[in-house]
């Protein structure tokens, strides 16, 4: 039986804590008697017969007829699936999406459905490379659909192939892929790695138009999203659910398949990552040292390559299919079962290590804007109830924060960093002053539509993702980052954890309480 997550009070005998530092790690000694460390629960056991479970879910869906009953010859069937931003890191083949889609295709074939399209639900993310599609779907599906043009990627700027479904009470226009809108049945194959994902969000962002996305991807909404991991207190999710209602009434029939993963994230050489520091064996310590030192010695590009080549041995903990909201409630139960940790009260200082990857740089570079997005957008939001850090408190992150960018994936990020950030770091101001210019830029649009670039507006969204955290924190400090780059983000650079704690003392005093969010792996703090 895996142990639940727990909160450790640091005393003198507590060993140094593991922090991510981008493509590497460090061990930091945290002050005794005023620090607590939140450990995630251990990975839940996975389902042994994954294919059987999937089939079972398809045949026994929630609040909907079994899938075979929905499949009729001559119908239009569209299967949408999550893009490369899930899972992180990518899972070992076969990917869950491949298993779901193969099962669905089998049933469709049995039912004589031959008009089937597969759409990668990218939203405004970059188009996936062919090898990524192969990884997600498997060679069999790829080779069968891709050459015939039946497997393709969603294009939020292709207004000829987008159609309006309707409008919410609040005037939000729901506009999605025309093929999806016109399908007799849409099956969505999802991976729910964190509580933010899934539900109505899948369709209303994944195959929506830029226009449709801009109703909820904006500073006002995201500042009122308390938190991204708690959909009942998230303005973003409220908007998505309103759109979901419109879809339910006026849209195509949607059969959602949601799956949850456990947190068995890193393969064997990285075992130590999932262990609690005082339980490290001599071998763990040796592996840690060897890994850290060798990573230190190779060039950063090589380090990235090594890290991005990691494939996770995730195991599926649950699969549910049927009517979207019903399915999603079950999914959330599963997700929370794996992620929730009870925490008493807020803290003055929150520390966290920022890893090499976030949802917006699979196979790419964690550029400075994504460091902000990962820290203040994702990790800060890993709470339910109240934020882990009190309002006006300090957030300390560790990351090298190089001024590095992936020119193919993140062209507009480069310009955002050079043009927008020197002007303002305030989400509201940049949204007013700059967003339209980037969103409507012809060149970015060209690169998004034909290359492998994120949409021109995406750096703004990544930045807005952190808007709540940015507003909440009194100061943000990055340990070990490139100082000018960190300053441009509006944060304070520090060279060591001790320096950072000294700097934090100016804001929250000398005896401030400290909480360390121990990642990996993922946890959601249920702050009472």
């Amino acid at each position: 039986m895996p142990r639940p997550g727990f909160v450790l009070d640091v005393d003198r005998s507590t060993p140094p804590m593991l922090f991510w530092r981008g493509e590497n790690f460090s061990l930091e000694k945290l002050p005794a008697d005023r620090t607590r460390v939140i450990y995630p629960p251990e990975p839940l056991p996975g389902i042994d017969d994954v294919d059987g479970a999937i089939r079972n879910a398809l045949l026994n869906p929630l609040d909907m007829d079994p899938l075979p009953a929905l499949l009729t010859p001559g119908m239009k069937l569209t299967i949408c699936f999550d893009d490369a931003s899930l899972s992180l890191p990518k899972m070992r083949r076969p990917d869950t999406r491949q298993r779901i889609i193969e099962a669905v295709l089998e049933l469709a074939a049995e039912a004589g459905v031959d008009d089937v399209h597969l759409i990668a639900a990218l939203g405004l993310h970059r188009r996936m490379h062919d090898y990524e599609l192969r990884h997600v779907l498997g060679d069999r599906i790829f080779d069968a659909f891709h050459p015939r043009g039946l497997l393709y990627q969603h294009d939020a700027e292709d207004y000829d192939n987008l159609s309006v479904i309707g409008e919410t009470d609040e005037g939000e226009v729901v506009e999605i892929s025309k093929r999806v809108a016109e399908s007799d049945l849409v099956v969505y194959a999802n991976i729910n790695q964190v509580a933010m994902d899934g539900g109505w969000k899948s369709i209303t962002t994944g195959v929506a138009s830029y226009r449709c996305l801009s109703y909820h991807h904006n500073p006002a909404t995201l500042q009122n999203t308390r938190s991204l991991m708690d959909r009942h207190h998230s303005a973003l999710h409220h908007s998505l659910w309103r759109m979901g209602e419109v879809l339910r009434e006026h849209g195509p029939k949607i059969f959602t398949v949601e799956t949850t993963l456990n947190t068995d994230t890193f393969p064997s050489p990285f075992d130590f990552l999932a262990k609690r520091e005082w339980e490290w064996t001599a071998k763990d310590r040796a592996t840690f040292l060897a890994t850290q030192k060798s990573l230190d010695r190779v060039p950063v590009k090589m380090r990235r390559k090594i890290m991005h080549s990691i494939e996770s041995p995730y195991r599926m903990t649950g699969v549910h299919a049927g009517f979207t909201p019903t399915v999603h409630e079950k999914t959330l139960e599963n997700v929370y079962a794996q992620h929730l940790v009870d925490v008493e009260g807020q803290t003055d200082i929150l520390t966290m290590g920022i890893p090499y990857i976030c949802p917006y740089n699979p196979e790419g570079i964690m550029n400075p804007i994504l460091v902000m997005c990962m820290g203040l957008g994702y990790l800060f939001n890993m709470y339910r109830g109240k934020p882990l850090v009190r309002e006006g408190g300090v957030i300390i992150m560790t990351h090298p924060t190089y001024r590095d960018f992936h020119s193919v994936h993140h062209p507009s990020y480069i310009d955002f960093f050079e043009e927008v950030l020197p002007d303002t770091t305030d989400p509201a101001v940049m949204s007013e002053k700059w967003e339209a210019k980037y969103a409507e830029d012809e060149w970015y649009r060209h690169l998004y539509r034909t290359g492998n670039a994120y949409h021109g507006v995406h750096p703004f969204y990544a930045w807005y993702w952190g808007a709540h955290g940015q507003q909440h924190a009194g100061r943000v400090i990055i340990v070990g980052g490139d100082a000018p780059t960190v300053r441009r983000l509006g944060f304070t650079p520090a060279s060591t954890m001790n320096d950072a704690l000294e700097i934090a003392a100016d804001v929250v005093g000398r005896s401030a309480s400290i909480t360390h969010l121990h990642v990996p792996s993922v946890l959601v703090a249920d702050v009472k």
Binding site: S268, A290, R304, S309, Y402, F405, E442, T450
Partner: protein, 788 residues
């Protein structure tokens, strides 16, 4: 009374745009209220003489005092007293118009201060101006039948390199005369000019200039190369003639061509003058004003100033000179007063020769001056660009030979390094380093030049007698002595050097004299603003190394290997590496030839496949290797309403993906065979080198746009013709040669780089198409990792 005796006189002045001339005009206007001035000024290349008087004389700050006195009346008052006539002392008859001849005829006094004062003028022009100039004035008087008082300004240094007293007499009449015939000197100087010009056109020399031009410009195309070659030839001729002047002067015992031609000029004038009364005034080294029109007034950057400033900037570590020798310096206002004094004395009373010098009666020792200068700059240091004070070096008065040897050695080392750097394929910042090196060499060259030119002056131990000057001084009444002080004894050197001269030249030299980090007017930012001004019409971009760090060879390799398996790829890479030196050689000689030769490889390539693969290449190679700042600039131009144009030697299908950025793409086109494969041939000349300039000119003409409002971005010296054609050239990541050219011409230079951290394939080869399973490789963990 000086003012009275010149009252109502009409005084002609030559050389009024010069240092002494300007001060003289000012002084006469201010202190001799009733005289008329006729200024003989050369027509400029674009500005007529009268305009030059306004701009170059009356606008000078020497007139600030007079302007303040006159107020709004200044222009009318001056116009009533000053007449400008266009003329040139290097032309017989001075090239005067009939009207101007009439004006000249009415002059009572002529003050001749026009001279080629530069110590390194080419011999023939020094001869025309300094030697023949005064005689032409005298001859014109003969022609016009007038006998005005001709006051000719010469120099003390006509006495040549001698030790001891130099009296106020003609050299040709002194004991050291060697019986030179000035006419034969003139003839040989003129002949030399023709001979040198002829020699510069010899096959050997022309080949050398051409080679040099090619080295400097690279494959810039025939017209640019021709212009450069001709420029180099002219430069060579000038350098030869300068050297000839220096050698001839040295062989006859003069420090330089200036003193030599001036000495012969005095001799010639004396011989030619006839019944024109002539008075010669010989100043020594003229420096900033002691008191009039204001202390420290100076015009131009003269002899001692560059030396002093170079010293203060720490560039001139040594300077030769005899410490106990005198530096014969005389403030300009004393010289001007003496000239006016001589003119006022008239032909009857004025001495034939008057020396205005300090050495004989109020000497400034070389050591004293060096001490003054060094302690002044220790108290008031100049600052380097980091805002740090520059410590001035200590001079230990070495011999000239030693200093020269040191400097020559340093210069030679630097030129070698520079040449070596030029030969390397450097770009951007490294190329800038080469340019820095060039600057350093230019500074050293200048230092060497100073030592060669002025060293003799600090070593000169002649003592210029001023008996005539003092006699004239004594004949003045107290009021004149007050108003026209030319007594060298009034100068207190300590005060003069420390309080007057050095502050003035530091101010004039525009050097950094305040501490703190340099905050210059950001020139690149200003140029950038100009470039992006909505008034511009067109922004033309080169592709390779301007917008992307890639080239046609890489694109080809990527496409060629895309569908190969690993062993074939290895073979391809090896073969290409073997061919590389040959390809590079062709490319250096002629870009077009290179492209023609290289593109043959596309023969028989299927069009459809290439077009398909080129789309993939866009992401994998072109965008990966792009300069984000460059692409941003293209879009900034678009946003500013400019047309954007891509001009590239790359093949059109390779740049198709960039189309959304540009209104127009000029690329190399390849013809297609009926079977749908490429021919490997280009029916039209690809846009490279000078063809780009023509292309852009044609485009602008067709579209009704102005080339002057075009901005061009490119990276190579072969684009110089394009740069010269447009109004706003921008050198991007320039290679060494272009960096040097851009720096000289003040072009905007941009350093654009790939996004840091971008994937950098070592070889321009596409990813293998077959699927690869990725394995976790963490160095150092495979042995300790345990489970596999």
């Amino acid at each position: 009374m000086i003012a009275e005796s010149l009252a109502g006189k009409r005084i002609a002045i030559t050389g009024a745009t010069g240092f002494v001339g300007t001060a003289l005009v000012e002084r006469l206007l201010r202190s001799v209220p009733d005289c008329q001035l006729v200024l003989l000024v050369r027509d400029g290349q674009r500005t007529p003489a009268a305009r030059r008087t306004q701009r170059e004389i009356l606008k000078n700050d020497a007139f600030d005092r007079l302007r303040a006195e006159f107020g709004d009346e200044f222009d009318t008052a001056v116009a009533g007293r000053v007449t400008t006539i266009a003329g040139d002392v290097t032309i017989d008859g001075l090239g005067l118009s009939d009207d101007d001849r009439e004006i000249f005829r009415t002059c009572d006094t002529i003050i001749h201060s026009a001279a080629a004062v530069s110590f390194d003028s080419p011999l023939p022009s020094a001869v025309e101006i300094n030697l023949l100039g005064p005689t032409r004035l005298a001859e014109l008087c003969h022609e016009l039948g007038t006998t005005p008082h001709l006051v000719a300004v010469s120099t003390c240094y006509v006495a040549g390199n001698r030790r001891g007293k130099a009296p106020e007499e003609l050299v040709s009449e002194g004991p050291f005369d060697i019986g030179l015939d000035w006419r034969s000197e003139v003839a040989s100087a003129r002949r030399l000019k023709g001979d040198t010009d002829a020699e510069s056109r010899s096959e050997k020399n022309l080949l050398r200039f051409r080679k040099e031009a090619r080295r400097e410009l690279g494959a810039a195309g025939a017209p640019a190369l021709a212009a450069k070659t001709e420029q180099l030839r002219n430069r060579w001729v000038k350098a030869e003639l300068v050297q000839a002047g220096r050698s001839r002067a040295a062989s006859l015992g003069w420090p330089d061509a200036y003193a030599y031609t001036k000495a012969l000029g005095e001799q010639a004038l004396t011989e030619i003058k006839g019944d024109v009364p002539v008075s010669i005034v010989r100043p020594s080294i003229i420096e900033s004003a002691w008191a009039e029109p204001k202390p420290g007034w100076i015009r131009g950057f003269r002899m001692a100033e560059p030396v002093i400033i170079s010293y203060a900037r720490g560039l001139l570590k040594e300077f030769p000179g005899v410490p106990e020798g005198t530096v014969d310096v005389i403030p300009v206002d004393l010289v001007v007063a003496a000239i006016i004094g001589v003119a006022a004395a008239g032909p009857e009373r004025a001495p034939a020769i008057t020396q205005v010098a300090s050495g004989g009666i109020n000497p400034l020792r070389y050591r004293t001056m060096v001490d003054f200068v060094s302690s002044w700059f220790t108290r008031n240091p100049l600052y380097d660009s980091d805002g740090q004070p520059i410590i001035v070096p200590t001079w230990d008065f070495p011999g000239r030979g030693r200093v020269q040897k040191q400097l020559t050695r340093a210069t030679r080392a630097l030129s070698t390094a520079e040449k070596a750097l030029h030969a390397l394929p450097l770009r951007g910042k490294q190329a800038e380093f080469a340019a820095t090196l060039e600057n350093r060499r230019i500074e050293l060259d200048a230092a060497l030049e100073y030592v060669e030119l002025y060293g003799l002056y600090t070593e000169c131990e002649a003592i210029y007698q001023v008996d005539n000057l003092l006699a004239l001084w004594d004949s003045l009444d107290a009021a004149d002595q007050e108003a026209f002080c030319f007594d060298p004894r009034v100068v207190d050197w300590d005060h003069y050097v420390n309080e007057v001269h050095l502050p003035s030249i530091v101010q004039h030299a525009r050097v950094k004299s305040t501490p703190g980090k340099h905050t210059p007017i950001d020139r690149p930012a200003r140029l950038r603003k100009q470039v992006l001004d909505p008034k511009r019409h067109v922004a033309a971009f080169d592709l390779e190394n301007t917008l992307i760090a890639s080239n046609v060879v890489e694109s080809y390799s990527w496409l060629a290997t895309r569908r190969l398996d690993t062993p074939d790829r290895v073979r391809y890479v090896l073969r290409t590496l073997l061919e590389a030196p040959g390809l590079l050689r062709i490319d250096r000689q002629d870009r077009t030839d290179f492209l023609r030769h290289f593109y043959r490889r596309y023969e028989n390539a299927p069009v459809e496949q290439i077009e398909h693969d080129a789309r993939e290449m866009m992401t994998q190679l072109i965008i990966t290797k792009s300069f984000p700042a460059g692409l941003r600039r293209v879009r900034e131009h678009r946003a500013a309403g400019h047309r954007t144009i891509l001009i590239t030697g790359a093949l059109s299908f390779n740049v198709e993906g960039l189309r959304p950025l540009f209104d127009e793409i000029f690329a190399a086109e390849m013809s297609v065979k009926p079977d749908g494969t490429y021919t490997g041939e280009m029916p039209v000349v690809p846009p490279t080198g000078e063809a780009r300039a023509q292309l852009l000119a044609d485009y602008c003409a067709a579209e009704g746009l102005s080339l002057d409002e075009c901005v061009a971005y490119a990276d190579s010296s072969s684009d110089v013709p394009l740069f010269e054609a447009v109004g706003f050239p921008v050198a991007v990541n320039p290679e060494t040669r272009l960096a040097a050219i851009a720096r000289k011409r003040g072009w905007l230079v941009e350093h654009w780089s790939k996004a840091s951290g971008s994937p950098q394939p070592i070889l321009p080869i596409g990813e293998l198409l077959s699927d690869r399973e990725r394995v976790v490789v963490v160095p150092g963990t495979t042995t300790t990792g345990g489970r596999r």
